[in-house]
């Protein structure tokens, strides 16, 4: 009978989709397990010094990843500090304030930033950003503005540096933050906007008092998604950060990141101990990135569901 046939094909479809869907979490589990197993020997040998050690000396079997960890975290934090306010401002401008045609154009241009390959950002960094930092920005900050008194802005201006990596990352994650922020702002119900407007708020007061507070959790989530991308970005960072495996003492100093370390050393990894130590670094990176992403999804999701039942 037809109904039985439909029942059977339904079941097949269900099994098929279930299988396809379960591949994704399974993949994450498998990758995590492989990384943990591969990293295990290094964890047993070196223990916490993997995280806290500052020496990374392969011939002497010293595997302290702290400089790379610090480099990843600080350059990502710097990128976030720059891209988050700009991204949210872009979203507010495009969605709420600009005339429709201008808003759409600006939005499309910012989206386009996400289409530029990572290696192109790296090349732009090397040929445009680094000379500019070396010749203009760093001397300006350090000498002209007198910030050189502070350790963060002192030292010789080479170009390749934490600062360069933070800037490139900021531009790279900007479109993601702006895109999520725009989606979150668009999900704010019309009733919230009209509440403020009907009381005599200007457009800007409406954004400030009704839209942004309602969207806050989602905006934070969008920023965290950007952070997730910044943490794992490899190619562009490797090209501009300077690849110096030592604790950076200044934003101007060349530094390292976990992703850059892995990219640079995996091909020439010498011996099991080295590979295992690199795997441990990969594990740390994976853990931080998964954590940040999970948190971000929860926050973005909370805005969507909280307002789903209110008619727009």
């Amino acid at each position: 009978m037809t109904s039985a046939r439909i029942g059977a094909s339904d079941r097949l479809f269900l099994i098929g989709t279930a299988a396809a869907v379960s591949v994704v979490p399974l993949l994450i589990v498998v990758i995590t397990v492989i990384v943990v197993i591969a990293a295990w020997p290094a964890v047993q040998t070196h223990g916490l010094t993997l995280l806290t050690g500052v020496e990374w000396d392969v011939p002497r079997q010293q595997f302290g990843a702290l400089p790379a960890i610090v480099g990843t975290l600080t350059s990502s934090a710097m990128a976030l500090a720059l891209a988050a306010p700009v991204g949210v401002c872009v979203a507010v401008f495009v969605n709420e304030l600009a005339p429709r045609t201008i808003g759409t154009a600006v939005g499309a241009l910012v989206d386009l930033l996400a289409a530029i390959p990572s290696v192109v950002y790296g090349l732009w960094g090397i040929f445009v950003l680094l000379p500019w930092l070396r010749e203009t920005v760093m001397p300006l900050l350090r000498d002209t503005l007198g910030l050189g008194r502070f350790a963060l802005f002192s030292g010789p201006a080479y170009g390749p540096s934490l600062l360069a990596s933070g800037l490139v990352l900021a531009i790279m994650i900007l479109p993601y933050i702006a895109a999520v922020a725009r989606e979150v702002l668009a999900a704010v119900p019309r009733a919230q906007r009209e509440a403020a407007l009907a009381l005599g708020a200007t457009r800007w007061e409406m954004v400030r008092d009704a839209v942004l507070p309602t969207a806050r959790a989602g905006l934070i989530g969008g920023v965290m998604l950007g952070l997730g991308r910044a943490l794992g970005e490899t190619m562009a960072v490797t090209m501009v950060i300077g690849n110096r495996n030592a604790l950076p003492d200044s934003l101007f100093a060349p530094a390292y990141s976990m992703a850059a370390l892995l990219a640079n050393e995996f091909n020439e990894a010498t011996g099991d101990a080295h590979v295992s130590a690199l795997m441990a670094v990969a594990g740390v990176l994976l853990f931080v990135a998964l954590l940040v992403n999970a948190l971000a999804r929860v926050l973005v999701g909370s805005v969507r569901t909280r307002h789903a039942r209110v008619p727009g």
Binding site: A191, A198, L199, G200
Partner: protein, 255 residues
């Protein structure tokens, strides 16, 4: 207190279009100060449009335009020199779905006065207290003004939204089906408070509930297909409608 006098509204040959679609056809109606006017009519007949024209909320929809005039007291509300924000403070609005801002009870009510530059202090506190009293919610929130407004029940939130509009000391209060999402008890409280507000503020209320219209309003206007069919004393309109369409609607034969 600072209660200003109720305002008069006068629509003259007023039409509204959403893009190519005409939602109101040359509506002419005078709403005397201090009365409560109910707007009734079948879904899509233009009740919300007429209501939202009173504080120029219609123009938030891209592509709307209008012809004709609307006067609040002696001023034409679409005149070039009119400040829309000031207009919206003189003409308060309450929506179908209560929509408190994500802040405290006190801050919701203080929002309008704050936009007007009223600083922290006794004047602000007085205005908030007075508004909460007029909206018949003071007793329920007096000891928790700093709680988030979203923690209130639906009926309380709606009265809070009325209080919030009253804190601007408006001349006109617009309500678009303010009780349609509430249970009978909460609805009754809203109706009582609207009854008490009469005289001090002009009330225009859209409702699908004809008994409600009969209970809270002095006059009722029946709209059909964007046209004002009939307006008159509520008791007269419900008992002796002049137009056949009105009679058909209030006896439930359509709409």
């Amino acid at each position: 207190m600072i209660v200003t006098t109720a305002g008069a509204l006068r629509f003259t040959d007023f039409s509204v279009w959403y893009g190519a679609r005409q939602a109101l056809h040359t509506v002419t109606i005078a709403i005397e100060p201090g009365i409560a006017l109910a707007l009734i009519g079948p879904s899509g007949c233009g009740k919300s449009t007429l209501l939202r024209a009173c504080n120029r909320m219609t123009e938030l929809v891209p592509g709307t335009r209008h012809t004709g005039t609307v006067h609040l007291d002696d001023g034409e509300i679409h005149a070039r020199e009119v400040d829309v924000r000031a207009l919206r403070q003189r003409v308060g609005m309450v929506f179908q779905q209560s929509n408190p801002l994500p802040r405290s009870i006190f801050e919701n009510v203080a929002y309008g006065p704050r936009l007007n530059g009223v600083p922290d202090g006794s004047e602000l506190t007085d205005r908030v207290t007075e508004a909460l009293r007029r909206a018949a919610i003071w007793d329920e929130v007096a000891d928790r003004l700093d709680d988030p407004a979203l923690a209130l029940s639906g009926g309380q939130q709606q009265r809070l939204c009325i209080a919030r509009a009253l804190a601007n000391d408006p001349e006109v209060l617009l309500l678009d089906e303010p009780a349609s999402a509430l249970d009978p008890g909460a609805t009754q409280r809203i109706e009582e408070l609207l009854y008490d507000l009469r005289g001090s503020v002009t009330i225009v209320i859209v409702t699908h509930n004809l008994q409600q219209a009969a209970r809270v309003s002095d006059r009722t206007a029946f709209l059909y297909d964007g046209r004002l069919v009939e307006v008159g004393e509520t008791s007269a309109l419900f008992t002796r409608p002049r137009e056949a369409q009105t009679e058909a609607f209030i006896t439930g034969r359509f709409g």
